[in-house]
């Protein structure tokens, strides 16, 4: 059983696992997915790509940012049967650019990482992520690109929206 005590203005409650088993009756206000103030995920409500998404790390802002944006946009809006098949040139340009900066974009398979696309990111939305981990910036939960700056486990699943 839980017990409770008061130390001046501070209240302290000790609870066991059983005490917390019953679901909470605390009410939270429903979130508005179109709230303009909120930080958005990778894809905005309008369908556009949010280049400032922390899940992208520094991909859109680095020296190869322009090429990256072109390639990814092409892929995103592609309606071909094989998505992004018409974007080969853009991806090639991006890869060429990235090869010039091996320190920033360690050479792993770029196409794979980007093509998988998607907002699968558990990166905290408020940490600048290193650009270096380009291979899995998008496709997998991004431990590398995640919380180097705040060193906490990715606490904010930002891109879930």
């Amino acid at each position: 059983m839980s017990y409770c005590k008061q130390e001046g203005k501070d209240r302290i409650i000790f609870v066991t696992k059983e005490d917390h088993e019953a679901p909470s009756n605390a009410e939270l206000i429903a979130d508005d997915p179109n709230d303009p103030y909120e930080d958005q995920g990778l894809i905005l409500p309008s369908g556009e790509i949010n280049w400032n998404c922390p899940c992208l790390g520094g991909m859109a802002s680095g020296p190869c940012g322009t090429q990256f944006k072109e390639a990814f946009s092409c892929f995103h809006y592609s309606n071909e049967e094989v998505k992004g098949s018409e974007c080969i040139d853009n991806f090639r340009a991006m890869q060429e650019c990235m090869q010039k900066y091996p320190e920033l974009y360690p050479q792993e398979d770029e196409n794979e990482g980007v093509a998988a696309g998607g907002a699968d990111a558990t990166a905290p939305d408020s940490s600048p992520a290193p650009v270096a981990s380009s291979d899995s910036t998008l496709s997998s939960p991004t431990p590398e690109s995640a919380p180097s700056s705040d060193n906490t486990p990715p606490t904010d699943s930002q891109a879930a929206s």
Binding site: K9, F14, T16, N25, S61, P124, S127, P128
Partner: protein, 668 residues
């Protein structure tokens, strides 16, 4: 009636003293007033007012004295205004002389020549430069110097100029013979003052949203933008002996990275910024912005270069505060004192920790406690004595409620730190090769080195020249909810006192806030017009048993409600983190040795644990008017989104235990 009229006429010139036209009028009016006085009494008397002659005389004497005093004051003010007006005209007149980058080198010696008339030997070459048209030299005085007119080029510079010129003063003799012009861009569409976390986050945001943006960061540090938290945490726990040079650390997930946000290849060089095809981010290191001309949309650096901008971010952060008793204690003490903030401070303190026998940390907040734990950890392998002293009753006394602060203090002590609570430093001196700290209650502490972690003073020197408001309650530049100070000027990071829609006006000195506010400022600089809404968080680690994340206003003076998991044998923090693989970084690195500190810090055998209060993990709510404004997740991780939501809602919850259920504190 006539008194009022005269008074009004006197006040009018005072009120409008800065305008030329009125000055001229005022002169005339004043003279008229002075002439009018003798006339009025005659009219007055002829109308036959009551009262004795003596009273009347006294009356006239008083009024006359007031008029003369007022007139004298007005005259002085106007004279001063005339001088200021002259300077202003001079400055405007000299502006058309644009300074080409090569000239700063030649101008700088000119200033020094004016500044150091006592050193004729230095002046030999610069003196020739001063003979040149005075206009460029005058031009390089952005702040109107009292009484300086074009002819008086030899006038010693004052205040801000002396400060900035003082540095080039020593370097100038070397610069003059080899004037290799350092090329700066003369215009930067996006200018970011300060090269820290907020600035970098803004740069990234701008580049993401404005394709091809050209961003110039100006920093007075020699380093590229880096993150600060590892300087007091991870870097100290690294196994790598060369960590002081590499500045690399292991993250929570085991992967290594540098404290620098990006390697040098990420940045464009300042010279190329204007030309490079797709834009980029350039960093100008070792340069300080000393003056900001908001009307002209440009800034002046310490070497007199001017750079104009379209949009500007001020992210100047702050400098560590020092204790007055240390500042006044003399050089022997101050050279044994570290004010910890930058990379160079980390390197210096690392060296000190190896070379001395005793270090005392003054300050019981985040930085002080983290450094104490880091050094305490190091003291386990050496005979280093680590002492921490602060005025509060326990570590983090201003943040954690008392019971938790006491518990934390015990943990810090178990890290090998001798904690002295309720310690007010009265005097510091250097005696017999030791630094002697005298406390108010009489205790004396002898040590080799002091680390002062007593707060941060926001850097607002630019407020004066830029005409920006400085907040008197929290310090820092006062900005609105969108982080804007003026039309094209934003402020982010430690230096920004902003309006938080949910929590009110505040200034936050945490890393994540610098990231969030920097990002937001960057978004707003590219037209987003969004207010500060996503609440930033912060965290701290104090040894293997204490790790917490927090969000919102976490002030120990607020009433709190803490909900803790009743500990069972399996719910130790160590077990929790090992199982989830998350959590305390320091522990992940020293798993082998962690078991012993844990065993020694919880001396009670498991059965007794049930009865004694063990704040192993839980969640603490901070309330203001019954609304949760801050939350600490105590040894509970991955729950920040829930905490953020609760604060965002800003609702009154009747039973906080129900709210605590949302965190599933027993899981892990």
């Amino acid at each position: 009636m006539w008194t009022c009229k005269n008074l009004w006429k006197k006040l009018a010139p005072l009120a409008r003293s800065s305008s030329t036209l009125c000055r001229q009028n005022a002169r005339g009016v004043l003279l008229n007033n002075e002439r009018r006085l003798p006339l009025v009494p005659q009219a007055h008397m002829s109308s036959g007012t009551p009262g004795s002659r003596g009273d009347n005389n006294l009356y006239y004497l008083l009024v006359g004295a007031t008029c003369v005093g007022g007139g004298f004051y007005a005259y002085r003010t106007i004279k001063g205004d005339k001088e200021r007006y002259q300077e202003r005209i001079n400055e405007i007149a000299s502006r058309p002389n644009k300074v080409v980058p090569e000239q700063p080198i030649t101008e700088a010696p000119g200033e020094q020549a004016a500044e150091t008339p006592q050193e004729p030997s230095v002046e030999l070459s610069p003196v020739e430069v001063t003979e040149e048209p005075p206009a460029p030299v005058v031009k390089s005085e952005p702040t109107p110097v009292a009484g300086s007119l074009p002819a008086e080029t030899a006038e010693p510079q004052t205040t801000t100029e002396t400060e900035s010129a003082a540095e080039p003063a020593t370097v100038a003799p070397a610069e003059v013979p080899a004037p290799t012009p350092v090329e700066f861009p003369s215009h930067a569409p996006y200018l970011l003052i300060g090269g820290g976390t907020a600035s970098f986050a803004a740069a990234r945001s701008i580049r993401a949203r404005d394709p091809g943006a050209r961003v110039l960061i100006i920093t007075d540090e020699p380093d590229l933008p880096y993150m600060r938290p590892p300087l007091s945490k991870e870097l100290w726990f690294s196994d790598d002996p060369s960590v002081v040079d590499t500045l690399r650390f292991k993250q929570w997930n085991g992967k290594e990275r540098s404290i620098y946000f990006q390697p040098p290849s990420f940045y464009v060089s300042p010279q190329d910024l204007e030309k490079v095809e797709n834009g980029g981010v350039a960093v100008l290191t070792g340069k300080k912005v000393v003056h900001m001309d908001v009307r002209g949309n440009k800034v002046t650096l310490s070497d007199d270069t001017e750079i104009s901008y379209d949009k500007c971010l001020i992210a100047t952060g702050g400098i560590p505060r020092n204790l007055q008793v240390i500042e006044r204690a003399g050089e022997e003490v101050t050279k044994r004192t570290t004010l910890f903030r930058k990379v160079e401070d980390f390197k210096a303190l690392d060296k000190v920790s190896r070379d001395t026998k005793s270090i005392t940390i003054i300050g019981g907040g985040f930085l002080g406690s983290e450094l104490a734990c880091a050094l305490g950890r190091r003291s386990a392998d050496s005979d280093l004595e680590v002492i921490q002293m602060f005025p509060e009753k326990g570590n983090m006394g201003k943040v954690l409620p008392e019971y938790l602060s006491n518990w934390t203090t015990a943990k810090v002590k178990s890290e090998g730190v001798a904690v002295i609570t309720e310690a007010l430093v009265k005097a510091v001196s250097f005696k017999d090769g030791k630094v002697e700290i005298k406390l108010k209650d009489g205790r004396v502490v002898k040590t080799d080195h002091i680390v002062a972690a007593v707060g941060l003073e926001p850097s607002v020197e630019l407020a004066k020249s830029a005409g920006l408001e400085v907040d008197s309650d929290f310090g820092g530049f006062r900005v609105n909810a969108e982080l804007q100070a003026r039309s094209n000027i934003w402020v982010a990071g430690d230096a920004a006192c902003f309006y938080d829609i949910r929590l009110g006006r505040r200034r936050v000195e945490h890393h994540d806030h610098a990231v969030v506010s920097g990002r937001l400022a960057g978004e707003n600089m590219t037209g987003a017009n969004k207010p500060y809404w996503h609440q930033s968080m912060f965290w701290s680690d104090l040894g293997p048993d204490v790790g917490y994340e927090a969000i919102g206003i976490v002030d120990s003076s607020l009433p709190t409600v803490g909900v803790f998991a009743k500990a069972t044998a399996k719910d130790t923090p160590k077990a929790a983190t090992e199982k989830s693989g998350t959590g305390i970084r320091s522990e992940s690195e020293t798993e082998g040795t962690a078991s012993s500190p844990v065993a020694s810090s919880t001396p009670e055998p498991p059965p007794v644990l049930e009865q004694k209060d063990n704040y192993g993990k839980g969640v603490i709510f901070y309330l203001r008017d019954k609304v949760v404004v801050g939350i600490i997740l105590w040894n509970v991780f991955n729950r920040m989104p829930v905490a953020r939501k609760i604060i965002k809602d800003g609702e009154e919850h009747a039973d906080l235990n129900e709210v605590a259920k949302l965190f599933n504190i027993h899981d892990d």
